[in-house]
C-alpha cells in the first residue's frame, strides 16, 4: 500500500498553552513525517485559538487545523470525536498521535472505534518499518511500529496496523523528548467551520463543575528523585523519603506497587503507567525493579539502589547498590549530606 498521506497530532490546548505532551508528540511526529516524506499536521479544537499556530510551527508543523467554538472548550468526548472522525474521513491521515492523557485516552478509542482503525495505548517508542504478514505473506512498507510494554510491563510488544488507517497511538507525557525543530518554521493555517464537523446533538454531556488544579507535585522536572517501592513498607516510612528529598532538594517518586499499596499518591507514580523521568540522580528505595518501573526511569544519569535484596533486578541498572534496610540507610544519607555540604 503506497501511503503518501500525512501524519496528524491531536494537540491539547488549555489556558492559552499547548500541552507539553502534544509538543513532545509533534517532535516525534516531525521525525516520522520526514522519514516517510509526508507533511506533519496538527489539529487544535477548542475556544480562543487566536495565534495558537505560533506555538506549533517551531516544531515543524506544516498544517495547523483549527476548529473554534466556545462549546468545544472545555473538552467533552462526543464533539471532539465528531470533529476528528469527520475530518479524518476527508483528509485520511495515515498516522494519528495523541497524548495518553485523560483526554487522549477518552477520545482515541471513540475515534478508532468509529473509523475501525487500530489504536495502541501508551506507546514507549514509535518507529517506521516494514512488515510481512506471517499468514498471508503479504508485505507492507513503512508501517508505524507501535512499541509498548504489555502485561504489567513484563514484555515489550511491537504492534502494527497493516490495513486500517489512520494508525493511531497514544503516548504518555514525558516519554518522548520535546525539541524545537526550527524557530523560524512556517506552515499554513486552515480554519475549519465547526458547524460542518460537529452537530448540536453531539453536545450531550454537560460539564456542571470543574476544579482544575495543577498538581503541586512536579517529579517530571526535578533533577533529584527519591523513589520508594513496596519494600518501603508503610506510609510512615515514606516520610523518611520526603525528608531525604527535602534535604537534597528533590522530589519523591514511587513505584506502582507502592501507590497501589496506598503508601503515597498516584501523582508520584513513575513508570509506564505513570510519569517518565530523566533526573540527574535517582535514588530507588525498596524498589525491586519491575520492567514497567524501569522503563520510566532508566535514563536517569546516576541511579542508586537501596534494597535488602542484593539480587533485586533494579540493581543491574544501578550505578551504586547499597544492600541494606532503607530505614537505616536513608537517615545515614541525610546525616552525611548535612555533615559534608556547605
Amino acid at each position: 500500500m503506497a501511503d503518501n498521506n500525512n501524519l496528524i497530532v491531536y494537540c491539547e490546548f488549555d489556558e492559552g498553552k499547548i500541552a507539553d505532551v502534544s509538543l513532545e508528540l509533534l517532535t516525534k511526529g516531525r521525525q516520522l513525517a520526514s522519514e516517510l516524506g509526508v507533511k506533519l499536521e496538527a489539529i487544535v479544537i477548542g475556544d480562543k485559538l487566536d495565534g495558537v499556530e505560533e506555538q506549533l510551527f517551531p516544531y515543524g508543523v506544516d498544517t495547523v487545523y483549527k476548529v473554534e467554538d466556545k462549546r468545544l472548550y472545555p473538552y467533552t468526548s462526543n464533539p471532539h470525536a465528531a470533529v476528528l472522525i469527520n475530518l479524518f474521513k476527508e483528509i485520511k491521515p495515515q498516522i494519528c498521535l495523541m497524548g495518553a492523557t485523560c483526554i487522549g485516552r477518552d477520545l482515541g478509542p471513540r475515534v478508532s472505534s468509529c473509523l475501525h482503525s487500530g489504536l495502541t495505548a501508551d506507546c514507549t517508542a514509535l518507529e517506521i518499518g516494514d512488515h510481512k504478514d506471517p499468514k498471508t505473506g503479504k508485505e507492507y512498507q513503512n508501517l508505524l511500529y507501535q512499541i509498548r510494554p504489555a502485561f504489567g510491563g513484563n514484555i515489550v510488544a511491537t504492534i502494527v496496523n497493516p490495513d486500517c488507517r489512520p494508525q493511531m497511538a497514544t503516548v504518555r507525557e514525558g516519554v518522548m523528548k520535546k525539541e524545537v525543530f526550527d524557530p523560524a518554521y512556517k506552515g499554513e493555517v486552515i480554519n475549519l467551520d465547526p458547524k460542518k464537523y460537529v452537530s448540536d446533538t453531539d453536545f450531550v454531556v454537560e460539564i456542571i463543575d470543574r476544579h482544575i488544579e495543577k498538581s503541586k507535585i512536579n517529579i517530571k522536572n526535578s533533577p533529584i528523585i527519591v523513589a520508594g517501592g513496596y519494600g518501603v513498607g508503610s506510609k510512615e516510612n515514606f516520610q523518611l523519603l520526603h525528608e531525604l528529598a527535602a534535604t537534597l532538594g528533590g522530589e519523591v517518586g514511587a513505584s506502582r506497587a507502592a501507590v497501589d499499596a496506598g503508601f503515597t499518591e498516584h501523582d508520584r507514580q513513575i513508570g509506564q503507567t505513570g510519569v517518565t523521568v530523566r533526573p540527574k540522580l535517582y535514588i530507588a528505595c525498596g524498589i525491586s525493579g519491575q520492567i514497567q518501573h524501569i522503563a520510566g526511569m532508566q535514563e536517569s544519569s546516576i541511579i542508586i539502589s537501596i534494597n535488602n535484596d542484593p539480587n533485586a533486578p533494579i540493581n543491574t541498572i544501578a550505578d551504586y547498590v547499597i544492600t541494606g534496610d532503607m530505614e537505616e540507610v536513608v537517615p545515614k544519607l541525610i546525616k552525611y549530606y548535612k555533615k559534608n555540604s556547605k
Partner: protein
C-alpha cells in the same frame, strides 16, 4: 425507578507474576496458564452499580464478561457481593481479539441483552492497561461515555451526574441515559461477599461447568434456576465473524520481546557508615547533589 444495570468486567491474569511462557507464539496471551483475578477497577465499578441498586429498589445488576469459560468465576464472585446474575461471552472465535474486536463483541452482547439504563465498567484492565474498551463500546452503541468516574452523585430523570477524577483535578458532568461510565480505582472499594448470598449461590454454575457435574448435581441445578449462569456464543449475539477475534482486530502483534536492560557495572556497598559517607562526598564533588 428500577434500573437495568450492566457491569462490564474482565477476569485478568495477575500480572504481578508472569513469565515468558505466558505468551503464545502468535503474541497473544496464554490465559489458561495463569492465575486469574477479578480486574480490580471492575470491582470499583460493581460497587457503584450496587449503590445504584440500593438506591433504586427493584433494579438488577448483571455482570457481562468476555473470556474463557472459567470467567464464570468472576460472575459468582460478583453475585456473592450483590449482583443478580451474569453472562460469559465465550467462544473460540473470539480469541486473540484486540480492543476493537473485543468492544464490538461486547456491544453485540449488550444489544442482545436489550433493555439497559446504564453500563458501568472499570477504567482499564491490569493486563492491557489500555482503557479503550469502555469508550469503544459506547461508540458502537451510539451512546455517550463518562470516563475516569470516581463517584456517581445522582441518577434521576433520565440523567446521571458523575464526579470524574482527572490528572489535573475534578470535574462533575451530567450525561443522558443510557451511557457508559468507566470507574477509577480511586472510587469506593467494593463491598465484601455477603455470607447469605455465598451460601445461596455457591453452587451456581455455567453450562460448561454444569456438564462436568454428576447427574444428581446437574438435576439440582436444573431444579434451581437461580443457580444457572449464562454462557453466550458469538453466533448467539449475532456477531459478524469478520469483526471478532483475530480477523476482526486491526492491530496485529508483530513481535514480543522479553525486556533486557543494559546492565551497568554497579559499585556495591553495605549499610556501612564509611562507605555511605564516601558516596555522599563523591556525589557532592561531582555536583550531582549540593
Amino acid at each position: 425507578m428500577s434500573l437495568n444495570i450492566i457491569v462490564l468486567a474482565k477476569q485478568v491474569p495477575d500480572t504481578r507474576n508472569v513469565g515468558k511462557d505466558a505468551m503464545k507464539e502468535d503474541g497473544t496471551i496464554n490465559r489458561a496458564a495463569l492465575p486469574a483475578i477479578f480486574n480490580p477497577e471492575d470491582l470499583n465499578a460493581l460497587e457503584q452499580a450496587l449503590r445504584l441498586k440500593d438506591a433504586n429498589p427493584g433494579s438488577t445488576v448483571t455482570l457481562l464478561t468476555m473470556g474463557l469459560p472459567r470467567a464464570s468465576e468472576i460472575i459468582r464472585e460478583a453475585i456473592f457481593r450483590g449482583a443478580d446474575g451474569g453472562i460469559v461471552l465465550t467462544d473460540r472465535a473470539l480469541g486473540g481479539a484486540d480492543t476493537l474486536a473485543t468492544s464490538y463483541s461486547l456491544a453485540q452482547a449488550v444489544k442482545k441483552f436489550g433493555n439497559y439504563d446504564i453500563i458501568l465498567g472499570g477504567r482499564q484492565a491490569i493486563d492491557g492497561d489500555t482503557a479503550q474498551v469502555g469508550p469503544q463500546i459506547a461508540e458502537k452503541l451510539g451512546i455517550p461515555q463518562v470516563t475516569y468516574a470516581e463517584e456517581i452523585l445522582d441518577l434521576s430523570n433520565g440523567t446521571v451526574t458523575v464526579k470524574r477524577r482527572l490528572e489535573s483535578g475534578v470535574e462533575t458532568v451530567k450525561a443522558p441515559l443510557p451511557c457508559v461510565v468507566t470507574v477509577n480505582g480511586s472510587a469506593a472499594e467494593c463491598r465484601p461477599r455477603n455470607a447469605k448470598r455465598l451460601m445461596r449461590y455457591k453452587r451456581a454454575v455455567s453450562p460448561s461447568e454444569k456438564a462436568k457435574l454428576s447427574e444428581s448435581e446437574q438435576a439440582f441445578v436444573d431444579a434451581h434456576p437461580y443457580l444457572q449462569l449464562q454462557e453466550w456464543s458469538a453466533a448467539y449475539v449475532d456477531a459478524d465473524p469478520e469483526q471478532i477475534g483475530l480477523p476482526g482486530s486491526p492491530t496485529k502483534v508483530k513481535a514480543i520481546e522479553n525486556v533486557v536492560f543494559t546492565a551497568k557495572e554497579s559499585r556495591r556497598m553495605d549499610n556501612n557508615d564509611e562507605q555511605i559517607e564516601e558516596l555522599i562526598k563523591e556525589l557532592i564533588a561531582n555536583h550531582t547533589i549540593g
